[in-house]
């Protein structure tokens, strides 16, 4: 392991960046990537640059890959995630920053204070694209400010600004305050709220008001560094190796999405653009994110996804058992039936509150939304539409069919900067303990947290986000709450994997989802890439030029275990390559993009689909190796018995269903060539991937 030394100390204050010693200028890729990282030390208020060789850019791509490469070399094992020594990185994908379809995403990496493991998150938000336009593939931050600070980066210039006036503000308030002096349209904002300031282990970082790096406690990391906000503005252009070919590919990708609009709508758009006044109207409509109506012979997937995004999945998933309810003890079809309850917090019901659509940027699909509740107890104005996880979490999981209260809970999470998945799961645990009499109403500060009591659900969410009263007990998630309560009942009710609550997809429904929960380096997460894309959603591996055997092995049966380890390997590698590219996983929904061709047009490389998958495997190995180096053993990630059916459901479509999560995990480890006991990476595989030197102490 090599640790990059910091440059000689500079006087504190605002200054241009220095080049780190020992980092030769190197030859850059012909385009697409910047080939440089920006490093910042908050304690010493200084910054410097590190050159990234073209070999590294190609081998690890950007995003999680480049992040893992940089952290592995620079973060000492055993570093306390909430100490000044911890480092976090905001990293752009290879295809970020120059209008690639589905690339309006930003990624963050670090060591998690919630799980103690490798941590990463891929969210909407402009900050990574702005970094690219500043000439950086990533920003890495270490140290701790001595008072609340906002890190402002304009092109190559780094400023450490006093943020005392922002400390205590919500994420909406702080972002809007910063936007008063930094052009909102040209800046990427990443901000923490009160939950992050108070180092809630489930605190999130909110990007551009509406998007969250939600899971694994990134908000607490920024809070521990007294870093309230980061704002990045870049005015540069990212050069491309083959601009005409790149543009043609983007056109090809965007066409079916454009054609998802009817002929009439496309004609209207054409007339409006070419007429001066109507052109103004058109620009205003699109600037406000309003959607032109969709009709005609469009692909159903695009139409539904564009209209409703993930909200369309809520009622179906509640009914068929995919979404766990009542803290994993109930059956949606019985306890929260589609016909009387679930439809009230799903798809069309949510649509009624839509103000406008919301994109992560550079996206032809535009699947998110902004909603308002016009009046009543849960009045909100222009807040992020709750999506699948939140609707399941604060809705179905809590047996709460009051959609306006779900909108409010979600808004509290975003505005105070708290992960909605973990928060809702923790509420589920508290409601169960309250029902069983383990917690009394006095211990809950008078909040009557019965299943389905909307008012109490909103109030307890607020208490958790602010650490007010009993909220302090639950503000670090269910595992910590159970530890503090110290009873078997509490431990039993805390459904988590190594400290983090799983998402709202039950492995008994989709077993490969469970493999991700217990075998990915980030326990409990569902967006890490797993074979359920094929197993449950019927998607083919969207890499038509990969080896036929690979494409075939990525297809598996629903209930059979056969081939699940290899399929999981392929899908997780593919997903990590997507992250490395900087793209959204929903780009796969309509058959995927020509990923490697896009990369080649931008960078001038000659990457094949197989090399793209290898890059993903390299990334997955680096993420995994980070945990092995921390002394984390594969056996440490255990599925809760409610997730596997060892504590069986009595009713509903999953009644009595069991899934052997250990077997699936072993199959995945075998396919990855990881030792089942120690987690060590096989020497042969590491050599084949060219990471044997990087992982020298962990191979074998």
């Amino acid at each position: 392991m090599t640790t990059m030394p910091p440059p000689e100390a500079d006087p504190p204050g605002n200054h241009d960046n220095d080049r780190a010693p020992g980092t030769p200028p190197g030859e850059r890729a012909a385009g697409g990537v910047a080939g440089k990282l920006l490093w910042v030390d908050l304690s010493e208020k200084r910054s410097w640059e590190e050159v990234v060789s073209p070999e590294v850019s190609r081998a690890f791509l950007g995003g999680y890959g480049l992040g893992a490469w940089a952290l592995y070399r620079n973060l000492e094992p055993g570093t306390d995630p909430l100490s000044a020594d911890n480092i976090f990185g905001i990293v752009a994908g290879t295809l970020t920053g120059y209008g690639t379809p589905f690339s309006g995403r930003s990624q963050i990496v670090s060591r998690s204070p919630l799980t103690g493991t490798w941590a990463d998150s891929n969210s909407g938000g402009a900050i990574a694209g702005q970094l690219k336009r500043c000439g950086y593939d990533g920003l890495f931050v270490r140290g701790c400010a001595d008072s609340p600070t906002a890190l402002i980066i304009r092109d190559g210039k780094v400023s450490f600004e006093d943020a005392t006036d922002l400390w205590g503000l919500t994420t909406f308030e702080a972002t809007d305050r910063l936007a008063e002096r930094l052009d909102r349209e040209k800046t990427g904002f990443s901000v923490i709220g009160p939950a992050g300031e108070k180092q809630s282990l489930i605190a999130a970082v909110i990007n551009d008001r509406y998007h969250a790096w939600g899971r694994q406690g990134f908000g607490a990391i920024l809070g521990s560094k007294k870093l309230k906000a980061i704002a990045v503005q870049g005015s540069g252009q990212v050069p491309l190796a083959h601009p005409a070919a790149f543009k043609a590919l983007c056109e090809e990708i965007n066409l079916p999405y454009r054609e998802a609009h009817s002929l009439l709508v496309r004609f209207m758009a054409y007339v409006m653009k070419t007429n001066r006044f109507m052109g103004f109207v058109y620009r205003m409509i699109t600037k406000l994110g309003l959607k032109l109506p969709v009709g005609g012979n469009q692909a159903p997937m695009i139409r539904t996804w564009r209209k409703m995004g993930t909200t369309s999945a809520v009622s179906v998933s509640t009914e068929n058992g995919d979404a766990p309810v009542k803290n994993w003890t109930g059956a949606g079809s019985k306890d929260f039936p589609l016909s009387t309850k679930a439809y009230k917090v799903s798809d069309e019901a949510v649509q009624r509150y839509i103000d406008r659509s919301l994109s992560c940027g550079d996206c032809p699909l535009v699947c998110k939304g902004v909603v308002s509740v016009k009046d009543g107890a849960y009045k909100t104005d222009q807040v992020r539409r709750p999506d699948y996880e939140t609707l399941c979490g604060f809705g179905a999981n809590m047996l709460n069919d009051n959609l306006e209260s779900v909108v409010m809970c979600h808004h509290i999470c975003n505005n105070y900067g708290m992960d909605a998945v973990s928060a809702a799961a923790t509420l589920g645990m508290v409601a169960e303990l309250y029902e069983k009499g383990v917690l009394t109403i006095d211990e809950l500060d008078g909040v009557d947290l019965r299943w389905g009591n909307a008012e109490a659900i909103v109030e307890m969410t607020r208490k958790m986000a602010t650490r007010e009263g009993c909220g302090d007990l639950f503000a670090d998630g269910s595992a910590k709450a159970a530890e503090r309560l110290g009873t078997d009942g509490a431990r039993e009710a805390a459904v988590h994997v190594h400290g983090q609550e799983p998402a709202y997809h039950d492995p008994k429904f989709s077993m490969s989802m469970g493999t991700g929960y217990v075998a990915d380096p980030t326990p409990g997460r569902h967006t890490t890439g797993n074979a359920s894309w094929n197993e449950s959603f019927g998607m083919k591996l969207p890499l038509p030029d990969a080896k036929p055997a690979t494409v075939e092995a990525a297809s598996v049966g629903l209930r059979s275990y056969e081939g699940k380890g290899e399929a999981q390997r392929i899908w997780s590698n593919h997903h990590q390559a997507l992250n490395g590219s900087g793209l959204c996983m929903f780009s796969q929904l309509t058959g995927g993009l020509p990923y490697s061709r896009l990369i080649n047009a931008a960078t001038g490389w000659d990457m094949t689909d197989d090399e793209f998958l290898d890059a993903g495997e390299r990334i997955q190995n680096m993420r995994h190796a980070f945990n092995v180096r921390e002394g984390i053993k594969p056996a440490d990630f255990k599925a809760h018995p409610r997730m596997t059916g060892e504590v069986p459901l009595k009713h509903g479509p999953l009644a009595g269903v069991k899934v052997d999560q250990q077997k699936l995990k072993d199959m995945y480890f075998d396919a990855m060539d990881w030792d089942r006991e120690s987690g060590r990476v096989s020497a042969d595989r590491a050599k084949a991937l060219g990471i044997e030197e990087t992982l020298a102490d962990l191979v074998g």
Binding site: S315, V316, E319, A503, S510, S536, R559
Partner: protein, 91 residues
């Protein structure tokens, strides 16, 4: 008798969202009911169930799963609710 049907999700490249109460002859089996309902729902249910393991696993009668081979022997009653669901990606 009247039976409520929910048929929802992507089936055979179409997004289906069907929620209706249908009048059926007394003693009608689920298999017979599916033949009657597929035209109204606009989706070839029999083909869909044959082609998609996950849809075939998501046939519910009053919230409990009915295995595909038991459709013919399962008779419906007045007020029953039948669901046929195709999973959708969450996020």
């Amino acid at each position: 008798m009247k039976v409520r049907f929910f048929i929802r999700g992507y089936m055979l490249d179409t997004f289906v969202s069907f929620d209706r109460k249908l009048r059926l002859p007394d003693g009608c089996s689920m298999a017979d009911a599916f033949v009657r309902v597929e035209k109204k729902a606009g989706v070839k249910l029999s083909r869909c169930l044959a082609e998609s393991e996950v849809v075939a696993e998501s046939i519910l009668l009053n919230g409990e799963r009915v295995p595909l081979p038991r459709l013919s022997e399962t008779t419906l009653s007045d007020g029953d609710e039948v669901s046929v669901l195709s999973p959708l990606a969450g996020g």
